[in-house]
Structures are given as C-alpha cells and as structure tokens.
Amino acid sequence: MAASLRCFLRSGKNTVSALQLRDFHRSAPAAVQMTVRDALNQAMDEELERDERVFLLGEEVAQYDGAYKVSRGLWKKYGDKRIIDTPISEMGFTGIAVGAAMAGLRPICEFMTFNFSMQAIDQIINSAAKTYYMSAGLQSVPIVFRGPNGASAGVAAQHSQCFAAWYGHCPGLKVVSPWNSEDAKGLLKSAIRDENPVVVLENELLYGVPFEMSEEAQSKDFTIPIGKAKIERQGNSITLVAHSRYVGHCLDAAAVLAKEGIECEVINLRTIRPMDVESIETSVMKTNHLVTVEGGWPQFGIGAEICARIMEGPAFNYLDSPVTRVTGVDIPMPYAKILEDHSLPQVKDIIFSVKKTLNI
C-alpha cells in the first residue's frame, strides 16, 4: 500500500484529482480524444464562423482539403471567397495576404511547410512584423502565418528545417509552437484573434497524434494566451524545457527517469516569442538544474537564448551546474533513416543529458 502510494505520488499526479476520480458523487469531465489535425481544423472552422473577415489562403488549402488535410471540409463549408487556393507563388501570395490584413481583413496564410516561407520571408519580416512600429501605431497587420515546421520523416535537407529561432529573433512578430491538440486549438485561435502578425509553427509528425481535449478545450471560445508556458509535469530534481514535439519526448524521458527517483519538471514553452522566461526561472530556482530540448540546430537556437536569459536573471545563482542544450545535430538533414534518426534528439539523449547535468 505504502509502496504503491509512493509510486503514485512520484508520478507527479495531483493527489486531489486522483481522489476526485474515486469520488462517485462527482462525474469525471467529459474529455475526448482529438488529433492535432482536427484541433487545428476546428480552430479555423470556429474562427471563420465567428468573424467574416477571417479567410484562409495557401497552396492546396481548398479543393485538395489541405496538403496535410488540416483544412479538410473548410472549402466545402465556406466556399471560394474564404478558402483560397493560390498558385505556387509564396512571395506573391504572402504579400497579398499581408496587404489584405493592412486593409482590414484577417488572413490565415498557410505555408505548405515553413521551408517555403523562406521565399516569402521579406514579406513576413519587413512588410508584416515591422510595420506597426514604423508607422508608430497607425497601421496594424492582423495576420497569421501557419504551417508545419521542422523535421518530418525522410523528407531530407530542404524540407526539414526548423524556423523557430529565425522567426523568434524578430521584434514585431509573435511566434507560437504548439505541442498537443489543446495547444494547437487554443494557440491558433488566439493567433487569429490577435491584432499582430503571429507565426504558428505546427509539426507534421504530430498532426495525426490524438490527445485528450478537456471539456474546456472543446468550447468555441477556448483560447490559450500567447506568451505563457505550461508546466506539463511537476518535479523537483531538474527542469526540462521544450517546445512542440520534444515536449512529448521530455515527458517520455521523465517517465523513465522517475523510476530512478529523478523527478523532472517539464515545461512546454508554447510560445517562442514573447518567451515566458519567468516560468523557466521559477522552475530553475526550485530544481537548480536545466536542460533545454529542441529539434532545431544548436547555433543561435532556442536553447542558446534560454541559456543567455537564465544567465542574465535571478535563476543563475540557483544553478548547480551549467545549462545543457539538447538539440538537432548541426548538419543539413540526411535522408537515410538511420542517419535521420541520429540527427534529432531521441528520448535516450534527453535521459543521458539529464544524468550528465545532475552528475549521476
């Protein structure tokens, strides 16, 4: 009994919620399973319905139902005016989307992958991100740029880059990186309602993964605030910070490490810019150790920024060891499966790094 109780408590679950499950007087919340794809679809559907200024444009978003089926059913429901298939002209259609936002509409500009956004990056940075500042508040640009970011599976170097650091670098842009379905729905809805240009970095490998959606998340007005990280798992031994797919990897690593008595606190960044450094600092001041995990390249990456911010803030004095960054390997993405697998952080890399950081 004592052992099972200990195991239970070590798993990080909240005692109160556990007791609630055993309470027959109260019924459990009606959570459902929903894939990230469906969550994004639902977010766009709800926002298209709510505000007639919202529209979606991009390659294959309409009649093809979306290259990754994220916009499935939307063209059938909303028609040509609001779901627009574009020619293969990223720089052109991104500029058109930004112009439409300047003139009062609320476009969702989809990139088939963010690799292609590089063709349009001038419009995103110079025409969208900087305009509110340059015009001293006269001209706002309420636009969302969304699409899959980072590595997929076997798509090789030109289709696997992570742009979190590139977009996260620029003032005037908000950048979010959802992990699970609730993140996807809540952050995309917030992005669409935001008056600023927001980059939504999705992940293709997560599109088909089902996650639990709480009753609250199923509501048509469910939004997640941009700029706030979430503690996915509480712990005392060490802080793990990640965004997107690697949040899942961190939770998997945490489950394994828990068996050895190492309790990881896992932080899901949710937003890259503005980054919730305070949540990281609060956690580090509790655990005294920090490991960052990302899929992107190490140089000038998310982990690098977190290291710098921790050094500049109050949490530095609480560190018992330097911050460790777990990142993608500093190479263009290779094709062969064995090579690709070894180009990205695996759960074992996180476990190894945690132990090194804790000097175990």
């Binding site: 052109g92 259609f93 112009g99 015009s135 600023n196």
Partner: protein
C-alpha cells in the same frame, strides 16, 4: 485709368501678403474651362484608350498647380535640409514627377487605396498628409506623420500604405489591399505603384498572375523615370515596354509629364477596375530631376543636357501654367500669388520640422505590438529593462 487702379491694387496686395488674390481683373474675366487635346496613349490588349480631348476647369487647374508647386517646393526644401544634415539617411526626391501623383489622385477618391515604393513624399501629400508632418518625419521629430519612427520611406496615412523600402514588395501588398476591397464589396480600388527598376522583380509577375486570375480591382502603375538607380532602362530590361509586361493584363503607356494625360488615363483605368474587369497596367513615362537619392548627384549615368532638356521642354508645372495662361484661365499674378503662399507654407513647415523636438526616449520601444498592455523590452544590456506600450 484702369491701369492706375490695377497698379494700386497690385501694390496693396504685395504689401499685405494676404491670402486674398487681388487683381485688377475679376473672375468673370477668366475662362472657366477649356478643352485640351492631349497625347494619345499606346494601348495593349485594349480596343480603345483614354479620351484625347479633355476638359480642364479653372478651379481644377489652380488646384493642380498649387498641389504640384507645393510638392516641388517641399522636395527642394528637403534637398536643402539634407545638405544641411538636418535630414539624414535615405531621401528619394520626387521633383519632376509631380504630374503623376496629382493626376492619379484627381481620378480616384480618398476612399480608394494607394501604395507606392520609397519615392513617396509626394504621394503622402496627395493622400492627405500635411507638409508639416511630412517634413517633421524627414527630420525625425515627434510631430512627424509617423512620430519620427519611420523616416522618409515609411510614411502612412488613411488608405495610404506607405512608403515601402524593399523594391517590389509593395506590389503584392497592393494586390492584397485590392483583394480586401473586392472581399468587402465596397467598390474601392487600389492604385499600386512601382518603378522601372522594380518592374523586373519576380514577385511582381506573381502578383500580375494572381490579380488577373482573381480579377482584383488593382491599377498597377509603373512610374518609368528611365533609370533604376543608376541603371538605364535599356541596360536593365529585355523589354522596356513596361505597359506590356503584364502579358495578359491590358496596358496603357501614358505621358507622365502631363497631368491631364495622367488624370484621363487613371479615369479610364479606374472605370475598368470598378466595372469588375480586373487589373489594368499603366506605364507613366516621367522623369526625376534629382538623382536616385540624395547621395546620388545623378550625372554619372546621364547627362546634364538631358536633365536640362526635360526641364525646359516637359516640366509638368510649366506645362500646366502655359496651358492656363494661354487659355486665359488664370493670370500671371494669380499664379505668382500661389507661389508665394506655397513658399510660405513650406517655410513654416521647415521651421516646425527643425524646431520640433525629437521623439522622447521613453517612446523608444512603443508600438512593437498592437493592443498589448505594457511589455518589457530588453535594452542594450541586461539591466536595461525598457517598456513598450501601444
């Protein structure tokens, strides 16, 4: 006798310096309107072009004259201030091209939309900005149209989307504004300008394609002033028929030095757009007296003789003035009176622009985001925690 009276009245007018035009001749002496024969436009994929017989009223003529003269003097004052190092950075002057901005605005409404590149001071004025706020923006003061945050290339006002520094980037933006007009069904259109240099940008061809495909109400206008920075059109473009470069978009080639030509062509183009036919392309053949920018003397890639020839034979303000005087639509004194008023307006604006204080340091980080309550912004060092409000 009349001559004595007119001399007295003229003398008193000069003494007062008042804004009242006094003249021995009454308004009844002037022709209220006249018909002019203007140059025929070359057309592309069009069965007919703009009218070649146009009517100009006295009031219109005076208004165009005043506006063009204001733009001319404003740009020349900017030249002066730049040489005095009171204006810094980029400064691309529009003198010589006034007929384009004025002619375009004459045939659209303020409720229509307009976007251009960096040679934008003239358009900021025709779209509703005041000389004062334009000049104060050039000098980087808090009274500037963008509070000193934007500078020469980033001026905005209602339905005017700048002022854009990246060559060609404004063209897709303009088509996007037109998409919003069509989407909202408000019968407005967007005038989208670019230069002969920008005309070779790939994103412009992407935009032509989508604008034509979706029948967006956009008037593409190529202001061909013969030089993209220091590269003449012959050295930059395999085809210098810019009005034909839209391939499947109908085009017009217009004398951009004649405000009446520009006005008539814009009227034609606006009708085309508003009737749902989709985009149309206008090439305005024009000329800039200054170099590309203030750091370019403008004579290493073209001759002084060429500049002088255009100035003497095709100056837009002189052309309008001659038309009005030879058709008895205004008097020399009347136009001189306008010149005096314009000069004063520019002087006052320059005075403001040089004395208005610079933006306060507290506002350094403002306007990063819209609708954000106070946000913390990192300064140059970790202890510099700056504040941003919008």
């Amino acid at each position: 006798m009349l001559a004595i009276i007119s001399n007295v009245l003229r003398a008193s007018a000069q003494r007062n310096g008042a804004a009242v035009i006094t003249s021995a001749r009454t308004y009844a002496d002037f022709t209220t309107q006249a018909t002019f024969e203007i140059k025929k436009c070359d057309v592309f994929k069009l069965d007919e072009g703009p009218a070649t017989q146009v009517v100009l009223t006295r009031d219109e003529g005076l208004q165009y004259y005043r506006t063009m003269q204001t733009m001319r003097r404003m740009e020349l004052k900017a030249d002066q201030l730049y040489k005095q190092k009171i204006i810094r950075g980029f400064c691309h002057l529009y003198d010589g091209q006034e007929a384009c901005a004025v002619g375009i605005e004459a045939s659209i409404n303020l409720s229509d939309h307009l976007i251009t590149a960096y040679r934008a001071h003239g358009y900021t004025y025709t779209r509703g900005g005041t000389v004062k706020e334009i000049m104060a923006e050039l000098t980087g003061r808090r009274g500037g149209i963008a509070k000193g945050k934007g500078g020469s290339m980033h001026m905005y006002c209602k339905h005017f989307y700048g002022g854009n520094g990246i060559v060609g980037a404004q063209v897709p933006l303009g088509a996007g504004v037109a998409l919003a007009c069509k989407y909202q069904g408000n019968n407005e259109l967007c005038v989208c300008l670019y230069g002969d240099g920008a005309a070779n940008q790939g994103q412009i061809f992407e935009t032509y394609n989508m604008a034509a495909l979706w029948k967006l109400p956009v008037i593409f206008i190529c202001e061909n002033n013969r030089y993209g920075m220091g590269t003449s059109v012959e050295r930059a473009a395999a085809s210098t028929d810019y009005f034909k470069r839209g391939e499947f978009i109908p085009g017009l080639r217009v004398d951009g030095m004649d405000v009446l030509c520009v006005r008539e062509a814009t009227r034609f183009a606006a009708d085309h757009c508003r009737s749902g036919k989709g985009p149309i392309l206008m090439e305005l053949q024009t000329y800039r007296y200054h170099g590309h920018s203030m750091s370019d003397p403008g004579v290493s890639y073209r001759t002084r003789e060429e500049i002088q020839e255009v100035r003497s034979k095709s100056d837009p303000i002189s052309m309008l003035k001659d038309r009005m005087l030879s058709n008895n639509m205004a008097s020399v004194e009347e136009l001189k009176e306008i010149d005096v008023e314009v000069r004063k307006e520019i002087e006052d604006a320059a005075q403001f622009a040089t004395t208005d204080p610079e933006p306060p340091l507290e506002e350094l980080c403002n306007h990063i985001f819209c609708d954000m309550p106070s946000l913390e912004v990192r300064g140059t060092n970790p202890w510099a925690k700056l504040k941003s409000v919008s």
